[in-house]
């Protein structure tokens, strides 16, 4: 009887204490912030799918994997499950000039960091309106492009969706137009879509994008504009 109890005690001691070393801590930090236009101080609107990314590498591994953060459409980002550690980070393959790689230390708990960069272009003075042309109603959007990069504008895009996350890959309808030249910042640009396939009474969000002719560049967008179903005359 005595030996049995001793065995049981030994067994319990082993099973309860042995696995401690193998228990790794989970992600203990949150990391969030935004991508900011260095001149205007505004966030730079982004695409969710195939948009700009922040590449980050956790230091201290021989063959580290490159991890990636993506942006929300408003240019903010958030990762609530990240390990506290030293990282190398770089916002890249985006709609802005890639800055130098940053060394960032993530502390346990909340961490905020804004990346201040120079966008390739800014979309300004976006004005949607309805125009009739040859008996058909069109959504016509005029806007201006302020180029920061000196490369030509490759294309412009009008994207329309029922939600505010509208962009190059998330849209119900779009019109993409080849430009392939440097544009005058004061010149009115124009994009349009026929209204016939829009649903009456439905809310729509639109965004205007300009893509610069730079390798791996992403569209520069305006902030999504909500079209009010009551003011939009549907045919």
């Amino acid at each position: 009887m005595k030996t049995k109890i001793i065995y049981i005690i030994f067994g319990l001691v082993f099973t309860l204490s042995s696995c401690e070393l193998l228990n790794f801590d989970g992600p203990d930090a949150q990391f969030h912030g935004a991508i900011i236009d260095e001149e205007t101080g505004d966030t730079i609107p982004q695409d969710i799918i195939d948009g700009s990314t922040i590449d980050y590498i956790e230091q201290g591994f021989e063959m580290p994997e490159i991890q990636r953060l993506i942006f929300k459409v408003d240019g903010t980002f958030r990762n609530n499950l990240i390990f506290s550690a030293d990282y190398k980070m770089i916002p890249t393959r985006g709609n802005f000039f890639t800055p130098d790689t940053l060394s960032i230390h993530i502390n346990p708990g909340d961490n905020k960091h804004d990346f201040v960069v120079k966008p390739y272009a800014r979309i300004k003075d976006v004005t949607p309106e309805i125009r009739a042309l040859r008996g058909k109603n069109y959504l016509v959007v005029t806007f201006k492009i302020e180029q920061v990069a000196t490369e030509p504008v490759k294309s412009t895009m009008l994207a329309v969706d029922k939600g505010p996350n509208v962009g190059r890959r998330i849209n119900e309808r779009f019109f993409e137009r080849s430009i392939n030249r440097v544009v005058d910042p004061d010149a009115n640009q124009i994009l349009w879509l026929p209204l016939e396939n829009f649903t009456e009474g439905q809310e729509y969000y639109i965004r205007i994008g300009a893509l610069m002719d730079i390798p791996e560049a992403k569209y520069n967008w305006n902030k999504a504009i909500k079209l009010d179903p009551y003011t939009l005359p549907m045919p």
Binding site: E62, M63, E65, R93, N171, E176, E196, P215, E216
Partner: protein, 624 residues
Amino acid sequence: MKKYSILLIIVFIGLFGCKDYLDLEPTNKISADDLFATEEGMQAFLANLYYQSPIEDFNWQAWYYQSFNFRSNNAGLFPITFTDEAINSEYDATNGGDWQFFWWDPGYRLNKDINMFFDVIPTLSLDDDEKDKLYGEACFLRAYTYFELAKLYGGVPIITKIGNPDDESTLYIPRSTEKETWDFILATLDTAIVKLGDDNTDKRKANKWTALALKSRVALHAASVAKYWDRAPLSGDAVDKKLVGGMTQADAQRYYESCIDASQRLIDSKEFALYMPDPANPDEAAENYRQMFKDPDIAPEEVIFIRGYTLQEHGHAFQLWGETNQTKESWPFAGRFNPLIEFVDQYETYSNPGHSAPVITTTDGDYNNYEGYNSSRNYLEFDNPLDIFADKDARLKASVILPMSNWKGQKIIIQGGIIKTDGTAIIEGAGQETVDGTTYYSFGAANPNLYSGFLHAATHTRSGFLVRKFLDEDFHPVAIWASCTSDWIEFRYAEILLNYMEAVAESGQGDASKAEQYLNDIRHRAGHTTNIPLTLENVLRERRVELAFENKRIWDLIRRREYHTEFNNRDRHALVPIFDIRSKKYIFVRQKVTGTNTWTFPERYYYKPIGGTTTNKLIQNPQY
């Protein structure tokens, strides 16, 4: 005392237990020594290397799980349905998540087996001539393997010796640059060309001509990547170290020269020719062309290399998936390959040679309007729906089952709607109207077994077309996966001519007048009588229509870096035949394929991710 005797027994066993008679050879496996001791064993091993080779045939699975010899249910997701050639009627293949090619492990396993074969050749008791041929065959297979790896991953580790587990330096071999990889493949093929024999009667094994054909294809691929990298440049560690990209325009010119040289040698040998080069009329041209793919054995002059199938269950499933709904008999899955109207548009007409001929459906001739049926537009009317394709290149009807054309002695009814006497249209929905005792059905017949289109069922085409190329009218579907045994042509003479003319048109090297001659030879075989000039546009259009559905388009889009511009928020389109009950004539509507979404090809897909980079210490491709 008892304890001691147990101890003694243990000591006894310990001392005398390791007798040789306990080293048994497994009886269910053949050792390498035994295998290579006989000619038959060696041939069996070699046959297995061919089996593992990345031949992009009917059993090539390009999506989700890149693999070869895939013989079970793949949902009909053949490579043609990932391109602008066709769409799958059930699954919108191109929307299925990331582009994952998992050929890293199988590729390097095959490479290890080939390396083993290289090691064995000198030990065989054969005369030098035969050893040379085997060495050439091994070089051909090695080049084939690395060609697939280079297409998928760019620069890869070049491993030509079996690794030694005790020596890390033989195990962790870093990636070569993309350029070094292409050069290695071409050099390996040069050895194969020298060593291999020039007898081409056995179309299923490598010879000098298959090696030249492969070199022509490899060099064109490398040249295109070098020339067009800038259309979709990537960044990152792999790019900085030139593991992907990093080639110059001079490299492009050098690879085009290689392509021209290899193609020219094969052409000048006069060992090959186009099958039936002089048809009397387009109908005959169409039939000749169709017969060649139904049974490649009838065209030994054109066929360079075949992947053959003999046994049911070990064949392929192309016709099982491809058969029309009306002719599928008791087999449940059919009608999956739906060619797109924008692909059908590529075929020229005989009256306007040298230009693609979009199918015109309205009097205003606007073929870019895909908004669907609109009663205010004036549609062209046809008594016979096939008239809208009249005058089109013969290869169209040989490659595609057109609406209301014949297959297996039946009229294949592909109709998407009716316009009733009151002018209302029923399109892609069930409906009928009886006029003067005759009932007109929106899908062209009363019940789904009697028609083949637009029901929004997987067995019915959504695009208005089905694939005819490769189908055999004598084949009856049986309920066995992979029961089709029609052979696959991996290399044929026409492709070599097309490689040659593309290389000439792209690089300005080679003989432009010969290239133009070859272009018109192929067109002449298709029933054309007017010659057209050698331009890049003409060459590329000719390539698309001549090599339709032969699994070449997917690589053409990749190597020429056209995928991301062709598939940029792209819709795929259908041609919907509609019967107008008022006029008793057919009209056609160009519209988006119902139920599909746009698709975009992200630029990172030009290279696939390498697996296991945290343990194999290789540098990952960009953006993975």
